[in-house]
């Protein structure tokens, strides 16, 4: 994402760069900088300090007990794997499905307005609303099961809520439109001249896709993957409403919330929250690094728009 804004120009000298870091640039960057510092960085550092302290209010001495407590308890450590098991497949699936669909739609199709309008719906409605609607629609007596039964595809209603699958469906309903629209925006930005050139040089449609379109879309795919993964990693409302919050869908965000709010042990809850943030951030950095490595060379010529 960062490379959206970074534009290197070879002609600007170091001297000019220093000169341009003038008082206006500094002044204009300040409000947002201070906001992020006060509302994001400082609380994180404050939380870091808290997480190393004993006592339910974080008033005690420095200690490692909160982290020892987390990593010593298999019920807590398992939440990490549960979260990965839920978040990774859904993210992969949403992105993998979005790529061919966006490829098909990149030059515009019939009913495009209608399709995108309905697709935006779950993003606007948010996780809680989708979860509540799913309880009705995918429930044992909901329309989905009724329909499948009436056409004779199944005998007994499928269990699609209050389990692992329900949470995955909820995340997919939210994540797929998001990934799809993002990748679509990226793909429709690739100049069609590149495709024409590839065609004229004798490449098949499959080769054109594989060698031209896909490499140029990799930054977009990486962005979509990262942003969906962030959303899927903190599955809190979906896992609570559509899963079994004490059983198979006890994800790490539930563990953090429980520790901080139900057991009222803020330092412990903060420690879990920080572990969660750190793991997630590591995955994002890995994906971004990987995509940059793969996209290098492919985007050097600048395939976007003319």
């Amino acid at each position: 994402m960062a490379n959206l804004f970074v534009r290197q120009s070879q002609t600007t000298t170091r001297w000019m760069l220093i000169r341009r870091l003038n008082i206006w640039t500094l002044l204009l960057s300040l409000p947002a900088l201070l906001t992020v510092l006060i509302l994001f960085i400082y609380p994180l550092l404050f939380g870091l300090d808290q997480s190393f302290r004993s006592g339910a209010r974080g008033e005690g001495d420095w200690t490692l007990q909160n982290y020892e407590k987390f990593f010593g308890d298999s019920r807590q450590v398992d939440t990490i794997w549960t979260t990965f098991q839920i978040a990774l497949p859904v993210t992969f699936f949403s992105v993998a499905l979005s790529v061919p669909l966006a490829y098909f739609m990149r030059r515009g199709i019939k009913f495009e307005r209608l399709i995108t309008t309905i697709l935006i719906l779950p993003i606007t409605l948010g996780t809680v609303m989708v979860a509540q609607a799913m309880l009705n629609y995918f429930g044992p007596r909901g329309w989905f099961n009724q329909f499948l039964q009436s056409i004779g595809l199944i005998d007994a209603p499928l269990r699609l809520t209050h389990n692992f699958l329900g949470v995955e469906i909820a995340l997919f309903i939210q994540g797929f439109p998001f990934a799809f629209l993002l990748i679509l925006g990226y793909m429709s930005g690739i100049s069609s001249d590149l495709e024409r050139a590839s065609q004229m040089l004798g490449a098949s449609q499959w080769q054109t896709f594989w060698r031209i379109i896909l490499p140029l879309t990799i930054p977009g795919i990486a962005t979509a993957f990262c942003l969906s993964f962030v959303a899927n990693f903190s599955v809190f409302p979906s896992a609570n409403l559509l899963g079994q919050p004490t059983g198979e869908t006890r994800v790490i965000s539930i563990a953090a919330y429980q520790a901080a709010y139900i057991e009222n042990n803020r330092p412990f809850g903060t420690a879990i929250a920080l572990i969660m943030g750190l793991i997630e951030f590591a995955v994002i950095m890995l994906v971004l690094w990987f995509s940059r490595k793969m996209a290098r060379g492919a985007t050097l010529g600048g395939g976007k728009g003319v």
Partner: protein, 306 residues
């Protein structure tokens, strides 16, 4: 009108536009169209997804007006009493005011703080720009609960949790990078030479901003504002952490109802969901009224010139 030079210029302009348009469409070889199988697959998949989305929203709507609904396509009798029920159960006026106040204030602050940041990212080149961009966007890459728990603890310490101010500050964290990310490309599209021209003609920085930059970026401000409004209304995970009975928003109340299923009849929760949905939609429509089609023309033109 009567000035011959102007009309001559106009015809030249028309001709060049026409001339430029023609070869760009006809002299290039046509691109291969998608195959029939691809078409069927695409419309099948998208259609299936959209059908389920409509079903999700529809089943909530039908449920909220149904007297009793078990295992049939539609409820036997219709009623509006679930709305009365939920209306007396919640302080609906307060919920609506809280939701709108938080969403509008957060959005306005985010636009005000985010605009200068987006401006320098779109316009200026300086050292550490990549670093600054990454810093601004950092909160988007961490799951809300991970920084939400320490931030909420911090806000509670500062005694800000009993007022809407705390909720606004909490929501500002993810919305600010979001606004910067959307605004920057819009600002980038405005031709820099317009600003230079304005300065050369004697306008100072403030006048240039007010009379040149601001009017041209209005579509961007509206888009960013609209999206962050919707996002704040649906933002559950953060508001939930510090809201109490008096400061909670619609989505938090909806989650509470849905999580405590069994306390209230399901139809009443559906009614609550419909009220939440209607608020979001009403706000979207209301905001869209203010986005005039002519403002998009400006954006389209600058898009083309790129």
């Amino acid at each position: 009108m009567s000035n011959p030079q102007v009309s001559k210029d106009a015809t030249i302009l028309k001709k060049t536009v026409l001339l430029r348009r023609k070869p760009s469409t006809s002299s290039r070889p046509p691109l291969k169209k998608g195959t029939l199988v691809g078409k069927i697959l695409f419309y099948g998949l998208i259609g299936f997804f959209l059908l389920n989305l409509v079903g999700l929203v529809g089943s909530v709507l039908v449920d909220s007006f149904g007297e009793r609904w078990f295992g049939t396509w539609l409820p036997a009798n219709w009623t509006g009493r679930w709305y009365e029920y939920i209306g007396s159960d919640h302080n609906m006026g307060q919920l609506l005011t809280n939701t709108l106040f938080v969403a509008v204030t957060t959005t306005l602050i985010a636009l005000l703080v985010g605009f200068p940041a987006a401006y320098i990212l779109a316009r200026k080149q300086f050292r550490f720009k990549g670093l600054l961009t990454g810093f601004y966007l950092l909160p988007m890459l961490i799951p809300p609960l991970a920084y939400g728990i320490p931030l909420a603890t911090f806000l509670i310490r500062q005694d800000l949790h009993r007022s809407l101010a705390g909720i606004i500050l909490l929501n500002l964290v993810p919305v600010l990078p979001f606004v910067i990310l959307i605004l920057a490309p819009f600002i980038e599209q405005v031709d820099v030479s317009l600003e230079s021209a304005s300065r050369i003609l004697g306008a100072n920085r403030f006048q240039t901003f007010r009379r040149v930059v601001l009017p041209l970026v209005i579509p961007g401000l509206l888009t960013a504002g609209l999206l962050s409004l919707v996002r704040t209304i649906a933002m559950f995970e953060l508001t939930f952490l510090i809201a109490d009975a008096n400061t909670q928003t619609l989505v938090v109340a909806l989650y509470g109802d849905a999580f405590g299923a069994g306390i209230r009849p399901n139809q009443a929760i559906s009614a609550m969901a419909v009220i939440y949905m209607a608020t979001t939609m009403a706000l979207l429509v209301f905001a869209l009224i203010f986005i005039k089609p002519t403002q998009f023309v400006v954006q389209l033109k600058s898009n083309k010139s790129k």
